[in-house]
């Protein structure tokens, strides 16, 4: 029931994740952060089997930082997306695949906003807006209706607000609000929401 939402706007990307950390029937935490910052311009959001999720995200994070130290260049968003997909696709045919859904938001080469979703099967698609899990059923219609190419960050956040209201109304359990992060030319930052 975790929520991950992403919206790509004119010169930035918005990534929102739910704050509730749930295990079984209990909410254990109401300020969980389901994201990892990979480098200056790339943010990874994830849900799935707890344990697998953090393990996988931190593995990706470490490898991307290792790459930049070895090669003395930052990896761009598209390369990171290919790398994550490859990892998940090969994990799928292993004895115990990672059960992780991924959303990667960033500025490709520090300029072009980029958003992609990858599921545990290794299905990757680059999209202007996307959501994982049940949240997709409630929010995609709103986003289909309101989203416009090259819209401003403010308008993006306004749509996100609509999505939040809808989720609050329709989701059967409290998800404790959204953590909202924006990736733009200044890097990754938290946004008051």
């Amino acid at each position: 029931m975790d929520i991950i939402l992403g919206i790509r706007v004119k010169d930035s990307v918005i990534v929102a994740t739910s704050k509730a950390f749930t295990r079984g029937i209990s909410i254990l935490k109401d300020n969980d952060d389901k994201t990892r910052t990979l480098n200056q311009f790339n943010l990874l959001a994830f849900t799935g089997d707890s344990g697998d999720t953090t393990q996988f995200a931190e593995y990706i994070q470490a490898n991307i930082q290792l790459f930049s130290m070895r090669e003395n260049t930052e990896m761009d968003s598209k390369s990171i997306a290919s790398y994550i997909r490859q990892q998940l696709a090969s994990s799928l045919r292993s004895r115990k695949p990672y059960q992780v859904q991924i959303m990667l938001g960033g500025l490709n080469k520090g300029i072009e906003p980029f958003l992609t979703i990858i599921d545990y099967l290794g299905t990757r698609t680059d999209l202007p807006y996307c959501a994982h899990g049940y949240a997709a059923f409630y929010t995609m219609s709103l986003l289909d209706h309101h989203y416009k190419e090259n819209m401003s960050l403010e308008d993006g956040l306004r749509i996100l607000k609509l999505c939040h209201e809808e989720l609050d109304k329709r989701m059967p359990v409290d998800f404790k609000g959204l953590n909202v992060k924006v990736i733009d030319k200044d890097g990754v930052r938290d946004v008051e929401f």
């Binding site: 997909r85 998940l88 696709a89 799928l92 045919r93 979703i117 599921d119 099967l121 290794g122 299905t123 990757r124 698609t125 999209l127 996307c130 997709a136 059923f137 995609m140």
Partner: protein, 191 residues
């Protein structure tokens, strides 16, 4: 689909997870030199298999100092899929192209473990395969010129996709002649 000195290959653009449409720009036809391959099935494997064949055809090109021909591509696809006989890629490939030496058009399809289905007229694959067979049987005639072949394959695809809940959301059609490839995006029903 085979025409007179031409072939056409087309796909829809939908990517979905069950009933939820996820993307409307997921192309399933890929180009390797002058050979084209369409891939249906598990989207993850569509991407993986495409990346695999991009590598294989690039290595082939370097070793042979020429592009791969459709007939060789068919055998390469077949052996590559059968290599994974007991842990297969869940894809339904089709290959189309024109042999650059003989100028002969070529199409064929495969099952997911690499059994080749050669055809002189048309091949189909995917969730709307049944509907496509129906449309193709009805509309196809041999020796069509490129423009007419385009119309035939487009109508076949569009109308088959409209009878399948999991297909549609736009389409792409390639018409391939010996010295020209035209790629057209079709607008289609968005429901």
């Amino acid at each position: 689909m085979v025409g007179k000195d031409c072939v056409a290959i087309a796909c829809d653009l939908r990517l979905g997870s069950q009933s939820l449409g996820v993307s409307n720009n997921f192309e399933k036809v890929f180009q390797y030199g002058h050979v084209f391959m369409g891939l249906t099935g598990l989207a993850s494997d569509v991407l993986t298999v495409h990346e695999n064949f991009r590598m294989k055809t690039n290595l082939y090109k370097m070793r042979e100092e020429r592009e791969i021909e459709p007939e060789s591509m068919a055998n390469l696809v077949s052996t590559s899929l059968y290599e994974k006989r007991f842990g297969p890629w869940f894809v339904g490939p089709i290959v189309a192209g024109i042999n650059s030496k003989s100028g002969k058009p070529f199409v064929c399809a495969f099952d997911f473990i690499g059994c080749i289905d050669y055809a002189k007229d048309f091949v189909v694959s995917g969730t709307a395969a049944d509907q496509l067979y129906g449309m193709c049987e009805g509309l196809y005639e041999p020796n069509l010129e490129p423009e007419d072949l385009f119309e035939t394959i487009s109508q076949a695809l569009l109308n088959a996709a409209d009878r399948d809940a999991l297909s549609g959301w736009g389409a792409v059609v390639y018409v391939i002649t010996k010295d020209k490839v035209t790629k057209r995006y079709l607008k289609s029903r968005q429901d």
